[in-house]
Amino acid sequence: MAFWRYAGRRGLHTAVTLLLLVGFMFVLFRMIPGDPTTMMLGTGELPAEAQQRLRVLWGLDRPLWQQFIAYALNLLQGNLGMSFYFRRPVSEVIAPMLANTVLLMAPVVILAIVIGVAGGSWLGWRRGGRAEEIGAVLALIPRALPVFWTGIVLLALFAYQFRWFPIGGIREAFFFPENWWQRLPFFDITRHLVLPVATGVLASVADPLMIQRTALLEVRHEDFMVLARARGLSGRAQRRLARRNAILPVLTYSAIMVGFAFGGQVLLEVVFNWPGIGRLMVDSVTQRDYPVAQAAFLMMAAVVVFLNLLVDLAYGWLDPRIRGG
């Protein structure tokens, strides 16, 4: 019972947060100087009368509060509106770009967490040794480097120098396979994925890795680990036990990673010419395409908010002390 009251309260908080977000996004983009009708051209040479016709057509001539109510009502019905720039429903504009981003970021997040947990456990178990010192530094170096720099270096080596991988893009326009392995399904997309995924993993693996290492160090001295040693568990069994008990903080962190992955990685997308949601977000702000910008940012924010809710609920379920607080 206490859990459900807790869940209800957290659910309400989430709803209020989302409502505030909707309002904030709506106002935020309209505060940027410039107007979608002048941005369509890049140089603002559309005659004033033609601009006015567009404003009426797009509902921008109405007072802001009326625009907001229309927007909020549409949003409640799941209608994100029409893009000014593409003149298509926003969902149609966002969906293919989101799919491309998921295709890129899903392997990045999964690999980063798997490698991070494995590497972090390995390092944590070797606390104080030379291997830990070197390993931690090696993991932190790519994290400290800008993503675009890592990407450009990988491109320079593996695309320009050795020519093992393509320079960018999601697939080759009109790809003609030359041998049997090139005929395998997904061959073309996979070889386009290798470098951007490698770059993304290099940049993001350090966080789960360091979190796992720290958690493991704490777990190592818990009573149950002492007991495991006393019971004569093998070294491998002990490591496995410690790893599993240390994994919770990484899972919490992975919720945040997933949320941001939905926003795409603008720099990664630009360096590798990946047509994803990150570039769409930047372009929509530049073009003052309010409906697309609002929807994309709202989606990213909503994913983070919902995953936080899920994590909170999971904690409340697991630890009764939290429900009371």
Binding site: T38, G44, L57, R87, M97, N273, T286
Partner: protein
């Protein structure tokens, strides 16, 4: 003062401020400096592009001997459009480069749009607030003069007040530099203002001939299109790309002169009446014949819906009447000398059987996705994958048959990636503005060739004539003398371009340029002399002082 500091802090964060506060800051800058007091630091707004950064690095050095200090603010192009064009909030000066769009080839654009007092409005390009009755009179006269030699004379005359009054420092016309793989394709056609690869002038692609078994060419460029609906977008790259499928009525030939395209011919009956003759035997891509009914429908449709993207067509054409098997008579609303170039060269033939049968429920036909464009141009629609490519297939029914089987145009947002793709053979043509450094690198590959083409596009510094000291003609002339155009072109673009005469028309466009005018000679001594003549003086530290009362 504190408020200003806060504003600067916010601006540094990229946060924008309510318009009223901006006005307060600009008001402070616009305040008349007292006679004899030091000239204030001059506010400069410039886009963040590398060529512009280099330009201001040079200018602040070159102008320093005059005792002038600059306060340079950089912003993205959208900030420039929003602040300087849409809101008309230019600080003391700002720099911009104007691309060589085909409708700017007619001299009217760079004359009337940028300097006519009528365009000193929000959203207009006369954001330096130049007002001259003499200039306006000549600009209006050339716009209304349909006799070509007479118009030539007027266009030449109208450039003189610009050089004399100096409302802008028009610097140079940077060449278009494209590159292609000559081992795979031959027959490139470099066209003035278009290069070999821009879609502005479709004749550029008509000579392309494959030399290997692959009969379609892969072209890289920066932009992607936003829509397949030709009635929607006014943006130059998108609209010209769609016009590869939707033939315009006229186009530009290899010498950039006007030539009939969907038309067989046109004739000016009187200044407000134009007869156009459709090319007999024309067909749309779906096999249906293109007739005068489609021509009339196109103009009626544009006039009915008043599409913002085609406002120049509805603003010019009053009515279209069928007068023969292939002839349509257009009645114009006003006399407009660039009519053939800028209206018939921009309007395209739309198939009546498709556009009059759109599904109901659209606010405007411009909102229709038009997922399978059907035009009558040299290229048929293949496929568009947003952010990846747009593919065209050759139209064998067009009166000039393409030598290729197709084209694939790929948007690549980074120049380095474009160069890499060309070098690796992933693309066959690089159709975006290269610089000479990258051009030299590309030239090292035996299979690749770099092609330089002059253009009418230009780099300029616009001065705000409503703000002292830029309201002072002697000051503006001094800046002209202190600006070495050739040196700037050499430094920024390795000399690849044409130095401006100080007028908005490039000397390379001999038909319209005025050979008798010349920008003030670069000389710091003459600059100082001009300032002295204008009453300016210097204090002990060499700082420039406003003229005494």
């Amino acid at each position: 003062m504190r408020r200003r500091a806060v504003l600067q802090f916010l601006a540094a964060l990229g946060v924008t401020v309510p318009a009223g506060m901006v006005d307060a800051v600009l008001g402070a800058a616009a305040a008349q400096p007292a006679p004899g007091s030091p000239v204030p630091r001059l506010g400069v707004f410039t886009p963040t592009w590398p060529d512009m950064v280099e330009l201001w690095r040079q200018l602040s050095r070159d102008w320093a001997p005059l005792g002038i200090e600059l306060d340079i603010q950089q912003g993205t192009l959208d900030t420039f459009v929003a602040q300087v064009v849409a809101e008309q909030k230019l600080p003391h000066m700002g720099s911009m480069s104007w691309g060589g769009a085909p409708d700017r080839l007619d001299p009217d654009y760079f004359i009337s749009e940028m300097f006519h007092s009528r365009r000193d409005i929000k959203g207009g390009l006369n954001f330096g607030h130049y007002h001259s009755a003499e200039f306006d009179r000549l600009a209006d006269a050339q716009r209304a003069e349909t006799d070509v030699p007479k118009r030539q004379q007027l266009v030449r005359e109208v450039q003189r007040p610009i050089v004399e009054d100096s409302p802008a420092l028009i610097l140079f016309h940077r060449d278009i530099i494209h590159a292609y793989n000559k081992a795979r394709f031959s027959g490139v056609t470099p066209i003035f203002g278009n290069g070999i690869g821009f879609p502005y002038m479709p004749m550029a692609y008509m000579g392309l001939t494959p030399l290997t078994p692959r009969k379609f060419i892969k072209i890289t460029t920066i932009y992607d299109i936003a829509s397949l609906n030709p009635f929607l977008t006014p943006e130059i790259y998108n609209s010209t790309t769609l016009r590869l499928m939707y033939a315009t009525f006229v186009t530009r030939d290899a010498k950039a002169d006007l030539m009939p395209w969907a038309l067989e011919s046109w004739s000016i009956v009187d200044p407000k009446t134009v007869d156009i003759v459709l090319r007999p035997g024309s067909k749309f891509h779906d096999g249906k014949p293109a007739t005068v009914d489609d021509v009339k429908f196109t103009f009626d449709f544009i006039n009915k819906w008043k599409f913002p993207a085609l406002s120049r067509v509805s603003d010019a054409v009053e009515s279209a009447e069928i007068t023969g098997d292939h002839t349509v008579r257009l009645k114009l609303r006003t006399v407009y000398a660039p009519f053939v170039a800028n209206v018939l060269g921009y309007a395209f033939l739309a198939p009546k059987h498709i556009w009059e049968n759109l599904p109901s429920g659209l606010a405007t036909p411009a909102d229709w996705p038009n997922d399978h464009p059907v035009g009558s141009g040299p290229w048929r629609y293949g496929e568009w994958k947003k952010g990846e490519f747009i593919q065209f297939a050759a139209n064998p029914d067009f009166f000039i048959k393409p030598k290729l089987e197709g084209m694939v145009v790929m948007p690549v947002p980074q120049m380095e990636s474009m160069v890499g793709m060309l070098e690796r053979g992933d693309s066959d043509m690089l159709a975006w503005n290269l610089d000479m450094t990258l051009g030299a690198r590309i030239s090292k590959s035996a299979d690749l060739e770099v092609v330089r083409t002059p253009t009418h596009g230009q780099h300029e510094v616009r001065l705000n004539l409503a703000m002292p000291p830029c309201d002072n003609k002697a000051f503006r002339i001094a800046l002209q003398h202190a600006t070495d155009r050739k040196k700037l072109l050499d430094i920024i673009f390795s000399g690849a371009g044409t130095v401006s005469q100080g007028a908005p028309i490039t000397p390379a466009l001999t038909q319209w340029a005025n050979p008798d005018i010349q920008a003030p000679a670069p000389s710091i001594d003459q600059a100082r002399a001009a300032l002295k003549d204008g009453g300016f003086s210097w204090n002990g530290e060499g700082r420039l002082l406003m003229p005494a009362a």
